[in-house]
Symmetry: C3
Subunit: 256 residues, 3 copies
């Protein structure tokens, strides 16, 4: 069975996601629809891009990933299909696929073919009326180059790469805070030397896993995605450090 | 694969929904179970009826929709199966299918056949012990007229249709507030003239889409379901207008 | 189609669960993955054990249940596969399968075979890198005794059985509080005589179902799992009795 994933900021309380699934199953009753998450912060394209970047590569080859975080829906922003040679992506052209562009060689197509539009097209819900049918048609064999012409001027934004901002300082950014309050940054293992660093003047020591943390202490580890993560054992680093959020800059002072 | 949907007020934190799915898969391991939502306000049958009405028609023909919002479970209210010629519905006879009745010619059957009851029947959980097995058996080929006798005195309630309540005033009701705080009413495009209206004395101007809204301003649009929706661009109309909820009446003063 | 369930404390906001599903579908694209719940209280193994115990038996024979509530991830606690003759379970050896052990004759295997480990193994996410591949391989035909050697010293804890703690007093514990605020205890019907009891000095009368409750009154019933449940009709017993939580002891005074 072919897998089609959905990532949105629609939540699961309303019926938006179910409407998308109904449209997809009406076109291809055999497609296996899997939710990545529907809890992207509303309208936060950057959060959506990071969450998609964290998860897309665990799925089987040929999976079709649909991502809809779309504050500009109804405006002139285009709908696109992205082909990276292994996966296909469908969604708005607003930067939601920025991590995909950064990590892969891609071809991007604007969705113009009328087969991809439900009739009549709803003006406020392209997720149901454009992206869901497009993804389902592709799961049925429609080729990406059949949805419309290739484009090269698609929207993208940088996740600021971590960098040395002084002899002993590294600046990165917060990718997201997870359900446990762990703060995941974009700082990778290669930037970290020694067994800890200072953050806002306080010492944070590195651990190999959560179980090694001392109760109530802020610690860091390199997580299973290879990123530096701040945690408090069975506590919430995010609560301790209230107000931290996606895309905040973070600066570490390494020890000499 | 045949699709069976679930709509309840059970939430996803407990295992009620999983128990229903387990029962269904034990009867038909091939049925494709799709969640519509499990976040209906607890015991709010009206909310459930509206959410089902918003979503059922996007699914493939022959989909079996099970809806359980059931404050009267364990009392004498009946379990029913509804056949509208395209879809089959299973759930309590308490008005949860009111929108289906309003939009379609239906036949309604009371669930009495013992095949539809798990043994022993739990007294507090008809979702798992009556409606799930009934839906799964129907997905396996049981005909609706085999679950029990047809009935005509099934429960229904009206969603108050919008109406002109004065020369320039339209009264409707709030269908629901979505995750973004957008307030969806039952007032349809045909009732709206001009480019805006007054609500509680304040001018609300119509837009074609969210992107056209002015920051911080309450606006309205006709959404992709054809209903009047109040929104604040990247904000929450529901928060602005605290306390608004499903079934509240709403009166618009159209301009002369 | 073979069913594989997931029960975790990961929530659905992050992409952890989706990463697990992607790994499983990459190994077996035909497996039908069903969520039991991902809302176990973070790190609360006891809550996870109770939720799994409430739901596992409703699924078809041969279902593979993966449960991950794992505060000790990355420490030396083992990964295990449990075979009870009807179902297979995969997860950490920390007591999460205590109810399974109590209710069934089981064989337990430590997961040591390298086929069960993604390469390189992430240190913080055994759910994705050990348990998901193990469950998917089993769904593909790997036998439980192929994952590693049988062990007998697996971790388990008791759910305190209800007991008579005086001539007229019964002590049990709170299993969980559900979404409606109903308080589910481990006290079974056999312990209850008469038509009510005193709890904290106040009379609580038994009902047969929720609909029989008086508005605003705390009542009890024997629920469809056979357990004593405290409820307020269309209200929240949990809110009324603020602070009650999983594993709290509860003592009933039966009438003479």
């Amino acid at each position: 069975m072919l897998t089609a994933t959905l990532l949105t900021d629609f939540g699961l309380a309303d019926t938006f996601v179910a409407q998308m699934k109904g449209v997809m199953l009406s076109i291809n009753p055999e497609v296996n629809i899997v939710d990545i998450t529907h809890s992207i912060e509303p309208y936060n394209i950057r959060h959506g891009a990071v969450a998609l970047g964290m998860s897309y590569k665990y799925f089987p080859a040929a999976t079709i990933h649909t991502a809809v975080v779309d504050p500009g829906v109804g405006s002139n922003r285009r709908g696109i299909v992205v082909d990276d040679g292994k996966y296909i992506f469908a969604g708005p052209d607003n930067g939601i696929f920025s991590v995909i562009y950064a990590e892969n060689k891609v071809t991007v197509y604007e969705i113009t073919d009328e087969r991809c539009y439900r009739n009549p097209t709803g003006v406020t819900f392209h997720g149901r009326d454009v992206f869901a049918p497009t993804a389902a048609l592709i799961s049925n064999g429609l080729r990406p180059d059949e949805v419309g012409p290739p484009i090269v001027d698609y929207q993208s934004f940088d996740i600021i790469p971590p960098s040395k901002t002084g002899d002993n300082t590294i600046t990165g950014e917060v990718l997201y805070i997870d359900r446990f309050g762990n703060i995941i940054t974009n700082i990778t293992a290669a930037f970290i030397t020694g067994c800890g660093f200072k953050l806002n003047g306080r010492l944070v020591s590195l651990r190999e896993n959560y179980a090694q943390g001392q109760d109530g202490q802020l610690h860091a580890l390199i997580n299973s995605d290879g990123y530096l993560e701040l945690f408090i054992k069975q506590g919430s680093a995010g609560l301790r450090w209230a107000g931290v959020k996606t895309a905040d800059r973070i600066t570490l002072e390494l020890s000499d």
